[in-house]
Protein backbone atom coordinates (compact mmCIF):
# COMPACT_ATOMS: atom_id res chain seq x y z
CA UNK A 1 0.00 0.00 0.00
CA UNK A 2 1.66 3.23 -1.13
CA UNK A 3 -0.38 5.41 1.21
CA UNK A 4 2.43 5.62 3.74
CA UNK A 5 4.77 6.96 1.06
CA UNK A 6 2.26 9.57 -0.08
CA UNK A 7 1.71 10.83 3.45
CA UNK A 8 5.43 10.75 4.17
CA UNK A 9 6.40 12.88 1.17
CA UNK A 10 3.51 15.31 1.72
CA UNK A 11 4.60 15.92 5.29
CA UNK A 12 8.24 16.11 4.24
CA UNK A 13 7.50 18.73 1.59
CA UNK A 14 5.42 20.76 4.04
CA UNK A 15 8.21 20.70 6.61
CA UNK A 16 10.76 21.59 3.94
CA UNK A 17 8.68 24.59 2.91
CA UNK A 18 8.16 25.79 6.47
CA UNK A 19 11.84 25.41 7.36
CA UNK A 20 12.99 27.25 4.27
CA UNK A 21 10.52 30.10 4.83
CA UNK A 22 11.58 30.35 8.46
CA UNK A 23 15.28 30.34 7.58
CA UNK A 24 14.78 33.01 4.93
CA UNK A 25 12.89 35.15 7.40
CA UNK A 26 15.84 35.00 9.84
CA UNK A 27 18.41 36.21 7.32
CA UNK A 28 16.82 39.25 5.76
CA UNK A 29 17.13 42.77 7.11
CA UNK A 30 14.01 44.49 8.34
CA UNK A 31 13.22 48.14 8.16
CA UNK A 32 9.86 49.52 9.11
CA UNK A 33 8.04 51.88 6.81
CA UNK A 34 4.25 52.23 6.93
CA UNK A 35 3.89 52.77 3.20
CA UNK A 36 5.77 49.59 2.45
CA UNK A 37 3.17 47.47 4.16
CA UNK A 38 0.30 48.79 2.13
CA UNK A 39 -1.12 46.58 -0.58
CA UNK A 40 0.69 46.98 -3.86
CA UNK A 41 -1.48 48.81 -6.33
CA UNK A 42 1.15 50.35 -8.58
CA UNK A 43 1.80 53.19 -6.20
CA UNK A 44 -1.69 54.63 -6.40
CA UNK A 45 -3.18 55.22 -2.92
CA UNK A 46 -4.95 52.05 -1.86
CA UNK A 47 -8.66 51.84 -2.45
CA UNK A 48 -10.78 50.02 0.06
CA UNK A 49 -10.96 46.36 -0.63
CA UNK A 50 -14.64 45.83 0.01
CA UNK A 51 -15.68 47.51 -3.21
CA UNK A 52 -14.08 44.80 -5.30
CA UNK A 53 -16.70 43.57 -7.72
CA UNK A 54 -16.12 40.07 -8.89
CA UNK A 55 -17.94 38.73 -11.87
CA UNK A 56 -20.42 35.98 -11.19
CA UNK A 57 -18.97 34.28 -14.26
CA UNK A 58 -16.12 32.79 -12.26
CA UNK A 59 -18.49 31.02 -10.03
CA UNK A 60 -20.70 29.96 -12.91
CA UNK A 61 -17.67 28.41 -14.55
CA UNK A 62 -16.87 26.57 -11.34
CA UNK A 63 -20.40 25.15 -11.11
CA UNK A 64 -20.36 23.95 -14.71
CA UNK A 65 -16.93 22.50 -14.10
CA UNK A 66 -18.20 20.36 -11.22
CA UNK A 67 -21.12 19.02 -13.21
CA UNK A 68 -19.15 18.18 -16.35
CA UNK A 69 -16.25 16.84 -14.31
CA UNK A 70 -18.48 14.24 -12.73
CA UNK A 71 -19.79 13.18 -16.11
CA UNK A 72 -16.20 12.72 -17.25
CA UNK A 73 -15.33 10.71 -14.17
CA UNK A 74 -18.20 8.37 -14.97
CA UNK A 75 -16.42 7.59 -18.23
CA UNK A 76 -13.30 6.32 -16.47
CA UNK A 77 -14.61 3.02 -15.11
CA UNK A 78 -16.39 2.58 -18.44
CA UNK A 79 -13.13 3.08 -20.33
CA UNK A 80 -11.28 0.49 -18.29
CA UNK A 81 -13.97 -2.14 -18.61
CA UNK A 82 -15.17 -1.53 -22.15
CA UNK A 83 -12.90 -4.16 -23.73
CA UNK A 84 -13.86 -6.72 -21.11
CA UNK A 85 -17.50 -6.07 -21.94
CA UNK A 86 -16.79 -6.54 -25.65
CA UNK A 87 -15.08 -9.84 -24.90
CA UNK A 88 -18.02 -11.06 -22.87
CA UNK A 89 -20.43 -10.10 -25.66
CA UNK A 90 -22.15 -7.19 -23.89
CA UNK A 91 -20.19 -4.58 -25.82
CA UNK A 92 -23.10 -3.29 -27.86
CA UNK A 93 -25.29 -2.70 -24.83
CA UNK A 94 -22.58 -0.89 -22.88
CA UNK A 95 -21.53 1.11 -25.93
CA UNK A 96 -25.09 2.19 -26.53
CA UNK A 97 -25.71 3.18 -22.93
CA UNK A 98 -22.54 5.24 -22.87
CA UNK A 99 -23.48 6.92 -26.12
CA UNK A 100 -26.80 7.90 -24.57
CA UNK A 101 -24.87 9.35 -21.63
CA UNK A 102 -22.52 11.23 -23.95
CA UNK A 103 -25.51 12.51 -25.92
CA UNK A 104 -26.89 13.96 -22.68
CA UNK A 105 -23.46 15.46 -22.03
CA UNK A 106 -23.33 17.03 -25.48
CA UNK A 107 -26.83 18.37 -25.09
CA UNK A 108 -25.82 20.01 -21.80
CA UNK A 109 -22.74 21.54 -23.34
CA UNK A 110 -24.72 22.72 -26.34
CA UNK A 111 -27.32 24.26 -24.05
CA UNK A 112 -24.72 26.15 -22.04
CA UNK A 113 -23.13 27.50 -25.20
CA UNK A 114 -26.52 28.44 -26.60
CA UNK A 115 -27.67 30.18 -23.42
CA UNK A 116 -24.45 32.19 -23.45
CA UNK A 117 -23.46 30.96 -19.99
CA UNK A 118 -19.95 30.55 -21.28
CA UNK A 119 -19.64 33.96 -22.93
CA UNK A 120 -17.02 36.28 -21.48
CA UNK A 121 -17.50 39.72 -22.89
Amino acid sequence: MPLGGVIFIAIFVAIFGIVILYAASRFGTRRYDPVKFESYECGVPVQEKKDTKISVKFYLTAILFILFDIEIIFMYPWATTFRDFIKSGEGGYVFFSMMVFIAIFIFGLFWEVKSKALEWE
Partner: protein
Protein backbone atom coordinates in the same frame (compact mmCIF):
# COMPACT_ATOMS: atom_id res chain seq x y z
CA UNK B 1 -14.05 -5.24 24.80
CA UNK B 2 -10.52 -4.81 26.23
CA UNK B 3 -9.11 -1.46 25.28
CA UNK B 4 -5.79 -2.71 23.90
CA UNK B 5 -7.68 -4.97 21.50
CA UNK B 6 -9.75 -2.01 20.45
CA UNK B 7 -6.59 -0.10 19.66
CA UNK B 8 -4.74 -2.95 18.01
CA UNK B 9 -7.28 -4.59 15.78
CA UNK B 10 -8.89 -2.17 13.40
CA UNK B 11 -12.06 -3.54 11.91
CA UNK B 12 -15.48 -2.55 10.72
CA UNK B 13 -16.66 -1.07 14.08
CA UNK B 14 -13.80 1.41 14.04
CA UNK B 15 -14.80 2.78 10.66
CA UNK B 16 -18.44 2.85 11.67
CA UNK B 17 -17.75 4.73 14.89
CA UNK B 18 -15.58 7.21 13.01
CA UNK B 19 -18.30 7.63 10.45
CA UNK B 20 -20.90 8.11 13.20
CA UNK B 21 -18.85 10.80 14.89
CA UNK B 22 -18.33 12.63 11.62
CA UNK B 23 -22.03 12.40 10.85
CA UNK B 24 -22.98 13.80 14.24
CA UNK B 25 -20.46 16.62 13.83
CA UNK B 26 -22.03 17.47 10.48
CA UNK B 27 -25.50 17.35 11.96
CA UNK B 28 -24.43 19.61 14.81
CA UNK B 29 -23.16 22.02 12.19
CA UNK B 30 -26.44 21.98 10.31
CA UNK B 31 -28.47 22.58 13.44
CA UNK B 32 -26.25 25.02 15.28
CA UNK B 33 -24.54 27.19 12.67
CA UNK B 34 -26.25 30.21 11.22
CA UNK B 35 -24.15 30.87 8.15
CA UNK B 36 -25.90 29.23 5.21
CA UNK B 37 -22.55 28.42 3.58
CA UNK B 38 -21.36 26.56 6.66
CA UNK B 39 -24.64 24.69 6.78
CA UNK B 40 -24.06 23.46 3.24
CA UNK B 41 -20.53 22.43 4.21
CA UNK B 42 -21.88 20.50 7.17
CA UNK B 43 -24.27 18.67 4.87
CA UNK B 44 -21.25 17.69 2.77
CA UNK B 45 -19.56 16.42 5.92
CA UNK B 46 -22.57 14.26 6.73
CA UNK B 47 -22.59 12.82 3.20
CA UNK B 48 -18.90 12.06 3.53
CA UNK B 49 -19.50 10.22 6.76
CA UNK B 50 -22.16 8.10 5.09
CA UNK B 51 -19.80 7.41 2.18
CA UNK B 52 -17.17 6.20 4.62
CA UNK B 53 -19.53 3.69 6.15
CA UNK B 54 -20.65 2.54 2.69
CA UNK B 55 -17.07 1.85 1.66
CA UNK B 56 -16.28 0.17 4.96
CA UNK B 57 -19.23 -2.19 4.57
CA UNK B 58 -18.33 -2.82 0.95
CA UNK B 59 -14.80 -3.75 1.95
CA UNK B 60 -15.66 -6.01 4.85
CA UNK B 61 -18.54 -7.73 3.08
CA UNK B 62 -16.57 -8.13 -0.14
CA UNK B 63 -19.27 -6.58 -2.34
CA UNK B 64 -18.91 -3.72 -4.79
CA UNK B 65 -22.45 -2.39 -4.47
CA UNK B 66 -21.46 -0.09 -1.65
CA UNK B 67 -18.85 1.57 -3.82
CA UNK B 68 -21.33 2.16 -6.63
CA UNK B 69 -23.63 3.79 -4.10
CA UNK B 70 -20.78 6.05 -2.97
CA UNK B 71 -20.29 7.06 -6.57
CA UNK B 72 -23.95 8.01 -6.83
CA UNK B 73 -23.90 9.83 -3.52
CA UNK B 74 -20.94 11.89 -4.67
CA UNK B 75 -22.73 12.86 -7.84
CA UNK B 76 -25.85 13.88 -6.02
CA UNK B 77 -23.83 15.78 -3.44
CA UNK B 78 -22.14 17.76 -6.17
CA UNK B 79 -25.49 18.50 -7.81
CA UNK B 80 -26.90 19.59 -4.47
CA UNK B 81 -23.98 21.91 -3.82
CA UNK B 82 -24.29 23.46 -7.26
CA UNK B 83 -27.96 24.27 -6.83
CA UNK B 84 -27.52 25.30 -3.20
CA UNK B 85 -24.72 27.69 -4.00
CA UNK B 86 -26.58 29.05 -7.01
CA UNK B 87 -29.51 29.89 -4.76
CA UNK B 88 -27.22 31.39 -2.12
CA UNK B 89 -25.42 33.51 -4.69
CA UNK B 90 -28.64 34.92 -6.09
CA UNK B 91 -29.88 35.65 -2.57
CA UNK B 92 -26.60 37.27 -1.69
CA UNK B 93 -26.61 39.38 -4.82
CA UNK B 94 -30.08 40.62 -3.91
CA UNK B 95 -29.90 41.07 -0.15
CA UNK B 96 -26.17 41.02 0.70
CA UNK B 97 -26.89 38.52 3.44
CA UNK B 98 -26.39 34.81 4.01
CA UNK B 99 -27.41 34.47 7.64
CA UNK B 100 -30.24 31.96 7.86
CA UNK B 101 -32.04 34.07 10.44
CA UNK B 102 -32.48 36.61 7.70
CA UNK B 103 -34.28 34.12 5.49
CA UNK B 104 -37.28 34.32 7.78
CA UNK B 105 -38.05 37.53 5.93
CA UNK B 106 -38.68 35.46 2.84
CA UNK B 107 -41.90 34.15 4.39
CA UNK B 108 -44.80 35.30 2.24
Amino acid sequence: MPSSDFLQQVGLPHYLILSAILFVAGMAGVLLRRNAMVILMSVELMLNAVNLSFVAFSHYLGQMDGQVMVFFVMTIAAAEVSVGLAILVSIFKRFKEINIRFFEHLKG
